[in-house]
């Protein structure tokens, strides 16, 4: 009964989405305020219906209703509660339901928070949002029904892949999806603006918080995934240039570019057509990512051909939305009036360069991800594109970008004095140099480029610190004055400083772990000691343990630093029931200088164990940098101008009761 309610809710949501698309769009065209007014309630209703469907599916998982095929395939009655819940989106059908639920949620959020939008723009934004829902709800109904039943119902389910049974992975997909789907709002705003033929500072101000939110979700999702891979996959890898990772990284890069170009639209009324294009591209890349992941095309071109229903459907959606929006762009963009002029050496010019480099970096990810598919389908030749390719293309494109990050904010609008900007940065340059030399002294081995990488990261951090000191006059003004200035700094300024510093911190972490990682693989017997990263690791012995749905061998290790014991860590080899699938749990002891990371392998001889110990220097900086970026985004989000800046109409008697 409950699954059927969910099924009907999806069907009703589909009909509501159709209505949400067609009626307000027509109303905006005819300038009929009554027709436009249905947009907001329809968006709300669509969201409620999908939320209901999602609740029904969750209920089926919680009650282990194995008559629902999706539950049978992905759950098990002995699974811990949290993984019964996360199992809802740990599979294709459920994750698509989550995807459209978020899409509808963002649409409803525009309906709720979009009170200060012009009626026609709001109606069109919500209508475009509805059209995306129509596409994906029909995808669910026609190819991926999460509520399909089995008769007779099986007694027990197949269980969730144990490697997915992890708290970080439970919240990782919703975050990532919120990011992907959040970009749909920027897309809807762009398409609505193209239809209206009007892009101005107010438009940029409305779009920016949504893009910022999506970018923050993507940042958090990517970082969480990276952290999970680091501690779960068992060799300390944190980024693999895997096509599925790239699928989330490309929208992140373009959303970053969009955040910067929207500033130019808002402040200077320039770069308007380009900003619209970026908004379209950002969501298009989200759709491409969905296609890559959902079609099976990544495993092999042939997997796609074997079961083409889903892949072809998503490809169709892709063509309609990307092709449609780009055609609309080609048709309407020339009518967008150009805004303020500026000299090449100016804040605008710097942001153009930022956009150019970010776009090219994204192109390297895009080409590297899709080229093997393209080449195989055209010539049949199979090639692999792996990390070495991305290091050689993405790297050189990003380094100049990072070098320029501190310079841009010191340029003035319209026309800037580059020399004056550089003069203000000399302290940061010296600081970066000192850090680079210190890095060389700390780790003389490893690639010669590494200290330069660390210096590059330090350059960004130091420039942000300089900016903060200059703006608050800490040190030069009396404390209370500096404190008042500190508190008075706008959220956007904090956002910029923290996010840029976060990028710098992340760069240092990446360079450190890539260049100076230590690895020791050896067979250990209880009592034996091993040195890694200046710490000693003593193997204490192993014992069997039993978890809720697994049994394990737990090997315990004593970590000592400077002769003093610090803590005891353990690494496990688990065997999960019912699948009999083995996984490995890693033992990690974090230090400021880096992580001691211990993983056990197979038994070796009498009493012996293969033990891999790693030292991952400064690895915490990767996620700390990510966290700084996220916090920076939040600061910028809460900037006052998004709350009081946009003009608010006193009264808006738009919604009228139907007669």
């Amino acid at each position: 009964m409950i699954p059927e309610i969910g099924q009907f809710a999806v069907i009703l949501a589909f009909i509501t989405a159709l209505y949400q698309f067609a009626v307000p769009m027509y109303g905006a065209w005819r300038n009929d305020s009554r027709l436009m007014a249905v947009a907001a309630p329809a968006a709300g209703l669509q969201f409620v219906l999908i939320a209901l469907a999602f609740a029904c599916l969750t209920w089926s998982y919680l009650s282990s209703d194995f008559s629902v095929e999706n539950v049978f395939r992905n759950s098990h009655s002995a699974k811990p509660l949290i993984y019964k819940i996360s199992g809802v989106w740990g599979n294709h059908e459920g994750s698509m339901l989550l995807w459209v639920g978020m899409l509808a949620g963002f649409g409803a959020a525009v309906a709720v928070f979009g009170g200060n939008l012009p009626a026609s723009l709001k109606a069109r934004v919500i209508a475009v949002q509805g059209s995306i829902s129509v596409a994906f709800l029909s995808f669910i109904l026609l190819t991926s029904n999460p509520f399909a039943r089995l008769d007779p119902a099986p007694i027990e389910g197949r269980g969730l892949n144990p490697i997915l049974q992890d708290p970080a992975l439970a919240i990782h997909p919703p975050l990532l999806y919120a990011g992907y789907v959040g970009l749909s709002i920027a897309f809807s705003f762009a398409v609505a603006a193209l239809i209206e033929g009007k892009v101005d500072a107010a438009w940029a101000r409305w779009v920016r918080p949504w893009t910022l939110a999506a970018w923050m979700f993507l940042t958090a999702g990517i970082m969480l995934g990276s952290w999970w891979a680091y501690y779960e996959l068992g060799w300390g890898g944190w980024w693999f240039w895997d096509p599925v990772e790239n699928a989330s990284f490309m929208p992140w890069l373009v959303a970053g570019a969009l955040l910067h170009s929207a500033i130019v639209v808002e402040k200077r009324n320039a770069l308007k057509a380009w900003t619209i294009l970026l908004a379209i591209l950002a969501f298009s890349l989200s759709l491409v990512g969905t296609f890559l992941v959902r079609s099976g095309v990544l495993t092999s071109v042939h997997a796609f051909a074997v079961d083409p229903a889903r892949g072809v459907y998503v490809l169709g959606i892709l063509c309609v939305f990307i092709g449609g929006s780009l055609s609309l762009y080609a048709w309407r963009a020339p009518t967008i009036k150009a805004g303020g002029l500026f000299a090449p050496i100016s804040r605008e010019g710097a942001l153009v360069l930022n956009n150019l480099l970010l776009t090219a970096a994204c192109a390297s990810v895009f080409i590297g991800t899709l080229y093997p598919l393209l080449l195989e389908s055209i010539t049949g030749a199979k090639i692999s594109v792996g990390p070495p390719y991305f290091n050689l293309t993405f790297g050189p494109l990003v380094v100049p970008l990072l070098l320029l990050v501190p310079v841009g904010p010191l340029m003035s609008w319209k026309r800037a004095d580059l020399f004056a900007a550089m003069q203000r940065l000399w302290v940061a340059a010296v600081a970066a140099l000192v850090v680079g030399i210190a890095a060389m002294a700390w780790q003389w081995r490893g690639p010669w480029l590494a200290p330069f990488g660390v210096a590059l990261g330090a350059w960004l951090v130091a420039a942000s610190a300089r900016e903060m000191i200059a703006r608050t006059k800490v040190g030069s003004a009396p404390f209370n004055v500096a404190w008042a200035r500190f508190k008075g700094l706008p959220g956007a300024a904090w956002g910029m400083m923290l996010a840029h510093a976060g990028v710098g911190v992340l760069v240092i972490g990446v360079v450190a772990i890539t260049s100076w990682k230590e690895e020791i693989v050896t067979v250990m017997k209880p009592g034996e000691v091993m040195q890694v990263g200046g710490k000693s690791v003593t193997y204490l012995g192993e014992s069997p343990v039993t978890g809720p749905n697994y049994t394990a061998d737990r090997a315990r290790f004593q970590v000592s630093s400077g002769g003093k014991p610090v803590s005891e860590i353990w690494s496990e080899k688990r065997v999960f029931q019912p699948s009999n699938q083995p996984t490995t749990e890693v033992g990690i002891e974090p230090f400021l200088s880096g992580d001691v990371y211990v993983v056990i392998g197979d038994r070796a001889g009498e009493n012996g164990r293969t033990v891999r110990s790693y030292f991952h220097p400064l690895v915490w900086m990767i996620w700390f940098g990510g966290a700084l970026m996220f916090i920076g985004g939040a600061c910028s989000m809460f900037d006052r101008r998004y709350r009081v800046g946009a003009p608010k109409k006193a009264a808006k008697p738009v919604v009228q009761p139907a007669e």
Binding site: L169, P173, W235, D242, A363, I367, V385
Partner: protein, 157 residues
Amino acid sequence: MTVLRSLILTITLLFTSLPQAHAVQPDEILSDPVLEARARELSGQMRCLVCQNQSIDDSDAPLAKDLRLLIRERLVQGETNEQVVSYLVSRYGEFVLLKPRLNASTALLWGGPFAILLIGGLIIFMRRRKGSMLAEPEQALSEDEQSSLRKVLKEPE
């Protein structure tokens, strides 16, 4: 490693091995640290043919182990890195290389990102020379605007 990848894993669970890496075993390691370092570098650039996007250095699949041992054997026999790579390519095809070699069919792959940077830069430069950076050329007034302008100016239509 993103969850999306894990979702794929769930789907392909029955066909592929888990990505949990155990990689190089103690008994594989060469006694000569220079050769071992070269072996690690090479195996980081070779794709494990039966895994999803893993190098043989990261993979615990039996085939990856065979390839790691093969690389080490060849290095011990005194082959150069290039010779080892050529041998592996002759045996498994270009697919084994995580860093594709530059040739006619990969020129676009290697040149593409930089071409986009160049083309983008050129477009910006050309637009600048036309007078306004990244700005669209001014449009003539549309029919509607012309007629409303005439109305305002009280010209006969």
